[in-house]
Symmetry: C2
Subunit: 222 residues, 2 copies
Amino acid sequence: MRIQDFFPIWSKLAPTTQEKIQYYTNKTTIKQGTVLCDGGKECSGLVLVCAGQLRAYILSEDGREITVSRMFEHDICLLCASCVMPNIQFDIIIKAEKDTEAWVIPPWIFKSLQEESVVFSNYMNDLMAMNFSETMWVMEQILWKSFDKRLAEFLIEESVIEGTTNLTITHEKIANHLGTAREVVTRMLKHFQTDELIILKRGTIEIINSEKIINIYIKRMQ
Amino acid sequence: MRIQDFFPIWSKLAPTTQEKIQYYTNKTTIKQGTVLCDGGKECSGLVLVCAGQLRAYILSEDGREITVSRMFEHDICLLCASCVMPNIQFDIIIKAEKDTEAWVIPPWIFKSLQEESVVFSNYMNDLMAMNFSETMWVMEQILWKSFDKRLAEFLIEESVIEGTTNLTITHEKIANHLGTAREVVTRMLKHFQTDELIILKRGTIEIINSEKIINIYIKRMQ
């Protein structure tokens, strides 16, 4: 697993830039639960995910969360370097949701790469635009889509990510992903259970009719 | 009004880049109501606002709007060039809210400047981060703040922008800024009137106690 395999623009970088990245970049194991970036004051640098899972979320003053983005293998976490981007003026928290293997370009190297390489700078621009688009998507979901659809979509997404229809996730955690209260999630899940879409057990949610969930809540809205 | 007066990084650009910008940039008058960018398929280019007012907003399928950003003198509209940024994957509409004077760098020149100048590219990165931060702010408002506070804030902001406490604006227009229905705005405005904060007249809203609005709805939430 070489860094070049996780950096799409590698071949376009100047040899000196490539060498600099190789010299200063560390392959790291990030334990589940580790905070990589907490509100922009401290951060890890540019994180290239080789394996595992990261989650970026915002937090209200009273502790409510909402997931802005989730990152997997071959994703690059630009906001993990937000402490060296003074114009990122929001506090975003990035946490490892699973044990994660990653290449990490330290913040000060990230900054110098951005100043010396137009290819690197433009690629960071692309990544920023992608992050921006993702956030806009989340905002549009919150604004225009009803909660039942968002929850249905989350359950299907989660079952694809985990590769199982038996989800081990608390209602609290789902509420934190979707920016709502636990009670709201529980109420809607019970409604899904009555409709025979899922079965609720202690600590798990079993999807018993994903086809019906997709037909009712996901396909219809397009 | 020279273009360099509206381009903060002008002195850092290479002379050839400065010449290119001066050669290809047009000073334009944009009539109130003109759409500068509509969903990313067509766009104006990079717009440097000399005077006037622009508004960037998103639109739901059923026609509901929400304002993401408003731009004034000395602001630069990066999203006005979104048609040449393939990673901006959301549809944003940018419209002149008032007659606007602006320098416009055409999309293809914008693209070539980004490829040739690391200074230009990094500055676009800064602008993108600023836009991203603004959107995140809007999202946080929607998520965590109650509607009465958002409306109070909008009225005060609008009175600062227009330089008057007598606002000529329809309830429909306010609803479009804040991403809600007209009825919701009307109901809350009537509530503000009962509390003797404003007086509602045909087509206008008169703020009669802005101090009280700020004390009750704006200061308290910080």
